[in-house]
Amino acid sequence: MQFKDYYQILGVARDATADDIKKAFRKLARKYHPDISKEPDAELRMQEVNEANAVLSDPEKRAAYDQLGRGYQPGQDFRPPPDWDAGFEFSGQAYPPDEAAGFSDFFSELFGHMGGARAGTRYAHAGFRAHGEDHHAKVLLDLEDAFSGATRQISLRMPKVDAQGRVRLETRTLNVKIPRGVRTGQVIRLAGQGAPGTGGAPAGDLLLEVQFKPHPHFRAEGRDLHRTLPVAPWEAALGAVVSVDLPHGSVKVRIPEGAQSGKQLRVRGHGIPGQPPGDLLLDIRVVLPPANTPKARELYETMARDLAFDPRAQERT
């Protein structure tokens, strides 16, 4: 395990005041805010900054860290001596388990046991029977999963309290049956897969918030499915029946005579399955064949001569 220099991470001196630490933390919290930061590793840096702040903003943890870390350099191999924390009284943690899940092994080793019993069951007291907390995680699914109701393997990093009361990060792999018809923003509830309860009370639930990965052809809006439908000029002008591939099969669609780019066709009931199912919305895009052969050029020249078509005529009226 490598030693982490929390002072260096926040960019403050070892004798920095609580106010200096707060200022430095806020400056970095703004810089690496996951919603606005353009830094490529913003999320990782923010976790590191949160971790450093969790220790240095807490006088008890900071004192223990200062005593323990004397003489260590960042990155140096580090093992805490047994009972190093004797004589310190720690009063809990400012960061909830979901955020602390991103903290390093170094942090878990030193401070993981603090408030450890609280990490899983917030309302736990001796002799008290408490339902375990619900956990929440976001899962990225393929759009196809909403059609097929497939079983997907999902890995989650979760804090877990070990026999010594320390909080360890554990990767849990779950095989989850994705309900057919699931939509972005919906929540799949897995009963009993949250934090364990205390005093024999049932465990909490795991709430998985669904989001779809970007799809090369489709995008989902609620239950409706959108895609662009490229059509040839003669299909648009004369009307045609074309086959459109769907995430799960295909459907034949009639293009009305005189269709134009930018028009939208609605095919009822062919969106994401459900009661009722969503619709398929096709944005028509007329694609011109290239004039790269003598025959193609001749056809375009014939049209130019015989059709007397001015696409800008409306602009002039």
Partner: protein, 101 residues
């Protein structure tokens, strides 16, 4: 549980999250959430027959507001304003993604 066990979950409608579920999943006290609702800072909550119900988007909003209040000592009104702006930004980013820009 065996590694190859398949968990079958139930699908919750967006508005089906309870106050306790949102509070627990976002590591906030239920009282914190109620105070914010009562002050009009949490528009994703709706009251049906005296019971609060929450959309899936509530989870992200609660986390954002909690972090803003903690990290910057933001007053709840300012955290709510920031959350409103971030949600607006999410919508515009999604729109931009749809338009392929």
């Amino acid at each position: 549980m065996q590694d190859d066990d398949v968990l079958i979950g139930c699908l919750m409608e967006e508005s089906w999250l309870t106050l306790e579920q949102v509070a627990a999943a976002c590591s906030v006290e239920p009282g914190w959430l109620i105070r914010h609702i009562e002050e009009g800072l949490f528009p994703h909550a709706e009251s049906v027959a005296g019971t609060w119900r929450f959309s899936g988007a509530s989870l992200l909003r609660a986390r954002r507001m909690r972090q803003l209040e903690r990290d910057f000592d933001a007053v709840p009104e300012l955290a709510a304003l920031m959350a409103d702006l971030l949600e607006e930004m999410d919508t515009l980013r999604a729109q931009r993604g749809r338009d392929g820009r």
